[in-house]
Symmetry: C2
Subunit: 135 residues, 2 copies
């Protein structure tokens, strides 16, 4: 038995999701916690899986996508897998991640511009209030 375990509500609270969400992930086979009686007990490994799934969600991956990505890290499960297909999967994922990263950078640049405009509008306003003359 693992030294540390978590209850479902502990994890739910830590990750800011509902217990329903975590049970739903179990229905979908994304995690399979131990049982103590009928209660679920999560190991640190389960916790990490959850964390990775939620990380995937944050950038818009489906739960299925997250699982596939996580499974790439598991050496033992990879034994049954074609090395070549794994390699190409990695390449694909990397490509979409890079695209996403570019999208994000573009958006951040856009936000910078908006912020500039806001700052200008604010300074003009305060100039008005203070009766300062603009250049």
């Amino acid at each position: 038995m693992p030294a540390q375990t978590y209850t479902i509500s502990e994890l739910a609270h830590e990750f800011g999701v509902t217990t329903r969400t975590i049970r739903f992930y179990e229905e979908k086979g994304l995690v399979c916690p131990m049982r103590q009686g009928q209660k679920r007990l999560y190991t640190p490994a389960d916790r990490v899986r959850l964390k990775l799934i939620l990380r995937g969600k944050r950038i818009g991956m489906t739960l299925q996508d997250s699982v596939e990505l996580i499974d790439m890290y598991e050496p033992q499960r990879n034994s049954g897998r074609q090395l070549q297909s794994l390699i190409s999967s990695v390449a694909e994922r990397r490509a979409t991640l890079l695209q996403q990263k570019k999208d994000i950078d573009d958006m951040l640049a856009g936000l910078d511009e908006v912020q500039q405009l806001c700052a200008q509008a604010l300074s003009k306003r305060s100039n008005k209030r203070a009766g300062t003359k603009k250049k």
Copy 2:
């Protein structure tokens, strides 16, 4: 009338979505193309809006989120808006974008590791085939 216009299927093809998707966006008020008779005609501005919406989708934003983000760039529409609320919206968006960027970087790092392992596995294999002795 704008110099250049696009039909719905032109845009659908360019962006790799169906015409249904574009009409759905119109139902939701995300775009409102002109009409020539009853057929839709899209201006370059409409095209940009679509492009930005799809960019948002790629990083997991909802359509509503995309619209709100796009509206930040529109100076005229901002006239009716509270400057302070716009500023805080910008700050929020930036925060989640940075989080997403970090998530992506973490995943990319993970993929790098996987790729390393793959490369090792491959080289060992080719050593076997060639009868090369390993160090």
